[in-house]
């Protein structure tokens, strides 16, 4: 594989102001995807961030501080768990879970947030804001803000504040302000719009910690790098457990951060299939889904990046739907679009119904309650395991735990009639 990302050195050396096409810098491209489609007022902040994260990447002090936090606060390395009783439903293939659900705050999101919060402090900013869908990124950001003494505001779609009420309470208890966004579909996309508006207004004091591998450069690259620890650890752990590399690495894909985190280290391992699972919602035919790669999504720009996008004939964003708030997003991180078009990664989708089945199955066979987002990856594992058969070895990123989803699950399975506790 050739290195997919543009380096930033070409930006830095570009002092030219002439405007021939060839001379214009194209920072942060993954093939034709990515880029920096933002209002000009944000450009200085993105340049500052890019510089800060590049310095941090080679600064032993930063690396040591982050490693210390991960060891003593996040709980890294996260373990892997082989799940034979669940695997019995996966065509007999061996299935290993990477347990990001056991991280402090309950998902992979903390990996990225602690690093961005450290960078926020290094940039001399005193306030951190975030968007959140499932509430996991919001909780992680509120947690990091409490830990590091930063002011914190989290934007969350009104629909999501209702279906992920537990996480709203957690954020507030941690001292964050939670703003319910009522515009548009009142989900993740609209929360990002509102966070961007806050950022444009308060950029001098505020860092916007984007919670996934989307947004303008350098976010897709930076957030991936902060999650790459998942794949680093998992690759070594699986090798140690089984003596070989997995046949497939499976992860759910909302914006795509947990997937990029576990994929990244495996990209050069050509024999390892990388499989992303999108939210199929009520089925692709229904139009109510977030399966960008499965449906007729085409490249477009949303929230600062060029990527596959659910859009109408005019280029207006089409609303997505998923039972899991964290995957309910009409675009996807640009590196996924690149991996998909180059064929290095494959993408499939899981419908709400399949997801709830896999969710229940893991609970009952292994005593692990996954997040609904992560349950999409479990559906993928069941399918891929059956395709591979008993010799197969599947590594699944269990990106988060399901406490936040008890309300949705209870309603789905008819366990908690309205008004009972």
């Amino acid at each position: 594989m050739t290195e997919p990302t543009a380096t930033d050195t070409d930006t830095d050396t570009d002092t030219d102001t002439g405007l021939t096409v060839e001379e214009l810098p194209r920072p942060g491209r993954f093939g034709r995807f990515g880029g920096r489609y933002v209002p000009e007022p944000l450009v200085p902040a993105l340049e500052q961030l890019d510089e800060a994260r590049q310095k941090a990447a080679v600064d032993p002090e930063f690396q040591a501080e982050l490693a210390r936090l991960h060891a003593t606060y996040t709980g890294r390395p996260s373990i892997i768990t082989e799940v034979p009783r669940f695997a019995a439903h996966c065509g007999g293939a061996r299935v290993v879970l990477k347990r990001e659900d056991l991280n402090h705050t309950g998902s992979h999101k903390i990996n990225n947030v602690l690093a961005q919060a450290l960078i926020t402090k290094r940039m001399g900013k005193t306030r951190i804001i975030a968007e959140t869908g499932a509430g996991q990124h919001g909780v992680a950001t509120a947690t990091a803000a409490a830990l590091m003494g930063l002011e914190c505001t989290v934007y969350m779609g009104k629909v999501d504040t209702e279906r992920q009420a537990l996480n709203v309470a957690r954020m507030k208890i941690l001292g964050a302000e939670v703003v319910a966004v009522e515009h548009g579909s009142a989900t993740l996309k609209d929360a990002i719009n509102e966070a961007l508006r806050d950022w444009v207004t308060n950029v001098r004091t505020t860092h916007y910690a984007i919670g996934t591998v989307t947004g303008p450069h350098p976010f897709p690259e930076m957030v991936r790098d902060f999650h790459a620890v998942i794949g680093e650890e998992a690759r070594a752990q699986v090798l140690e457990l089984t003596g070989r590399l997995p046949d497939a690495v499976v992860a759910c894909v909302g914006g795509g951060s947990n997937a990029m985190g576990i994929f990244h280290r495996f990209v050069p391992d050509e024999g390892v299939r990388l499989i992303g699972v999108e939210a199929g919602g009520e089925g692709v035919e229904s139009g109510r889904h977030a399966a960008r790669f499965a449906a007729d999504a085409t490249p477009g720009v949303l929230h600062g990046a060029m990527s596959y996008l659910m859009q109408d004939d005019d280029g207006q964003t089409v609303e997505s739907h998923s039972i899991s708030a964290g995957l309910d997003y009409p675009s996807v991180g640009p590196e996924h679009s690149f991996l998909r078009d180059t064929g290095r990664a494959e993408y499939r989708y899981a419908t709400d119904e399949q997801v709830m089945e896999a969710f229940a199955l893991l609970c009952r066979t292994e005593g692990i309650i996954p997040a609904l987002e992560s349950a999409h990856a479990l559906v993928g594992a069941m399918q891929v395991g059956r395709e591979l058969g008993p010799d197969g070895l599947v590594l699944v990123n269990l990106s988060g735990r399901g406490d936040k989803d008890m309300h949705t699950a209870a309603a789905w399975f008819g366990l908690a009639p309205e008004g009972t506790q």
């Binding site: 096409v21 000009e40 444009v200 001098r204 720009v301 964003t317």
Partner: protein, 273 residues
């Protein structure tokens, strides 16, 4: 550069206004609010009451640099079925009414139609160019080429946060004028716009001879007069949209819009230059 448009462009407007010893008045309204026909009517009112340039807004599903007033108007326009095609109809209407039409659009609408096709359609409708709030010159290679081919103005934004290097880069890419955001933030009326704006205009003048217009937050005759004292144009948006979206019959709201526009037109003639 080949030029296919011969109608008056922004540079002509500025020259005319300078000769009259005043700043230009630029009024923004989104197409399709309160309906396509209603928005065309409102744009004609702007022209009759003294706008030199109409910034024809393309409604978009995710307008990240717009405040609540414009967001709501765009959402209403889209809910009522407004299409990108209607933007070109509005451009024609503004041109017929005798003002210079510039389209303000988020980039994905242009990208999706095809940059070349959008530029050709805009030129054919009599549009003078594009204001692109979420496109920076660094990502604009197709648009730079298409705007050259069709003789269209291209207006990029600068902001109080812009570094000297960015000011050079952005203003070099601009044609027509430079859009200076008065403050850090989204669109919406503000009580004060002057603090950052004056300094920014000075900095822009240090790097380019292009006209500089100030937008974001302007809502009153007094503000327009103050800005007219140091900028080439005053851009008013949310205050007009709010007036058009007020209470009462459409005919009454159009009259209120006429009154406000006339006051602002007075303002740009009161700047001390």
């Amino acid at each position: 550069m080949t030029t296919t448009t011969t109608a008056e462009g922004f540079a002509d407007v500025v020259a005319r206004c300078r000769a009259e010893g005043r700043a230009a008045l630029v009024g923004y309204l989104p197409v399709g609010f309160p309906s396509v026909e209603g928005s065309l009517e409102a744009m004609r009112v702007l022209v009759e009451a003294g706008c030199d340039v109409v910034e024809v807004g393309a409604p978009y599903s995710d307008p990240v640099i717009d405040g609540p007033v414009n967001q709501d108007a765009m959402a209403a326009a889209l809910a009522a079925g407004t299409r990108v095609d209607d933007v070109f109809t509005a451009v024609e209407a503004v041109r017929e009414a005798g003002a210079v039409p510039l389209v303000m659009t988020y980039w994905n609408l242009v990208l999706h139609r095809g940059v070349e096709r959008f530029a050709a359609d805009l030129a054919a409708a009599g549009g003078a160019g594009l204001i692109t709030p979420d496109l920076i010159p660094d990502e604009a290679e197709d648009w730079l080429a298409a705007s050259d081919r069709h003789g269209l103005d291209r207006v990029f934004l600068v902001a109080p946060s812009s570094t000297p290097e960015r000011l050079v880069k952005v203003t070099t890419a601009c044609r027509g004028f430079v859009y200076a955001a008065s403050t850090m933030g989204v669109t919406g009326a503000r009580t004060s716009v002057d603090a950052d704006a004056r300094g920014l205009v000075e900095r822009v003048r240090g790097v380019t001879d292009l006209p500089v217009c100030i937008g974001l937050g302007v809502s009153t005759r007094a503000q327009a007069a103050e800005i007219a004292g140091y900028a080439d144009g005053v851009i008013v948006g949310s205050a007009l949209v709010r007036t058009l979206g007020g209470d009462g019959e459409l005919s009454q709201r159009l009259e209120a819009l006429r009154t406000l526009t006339a006051e602002l037109a007075q303002g740009v003639r009161e700047g001390h230059r």
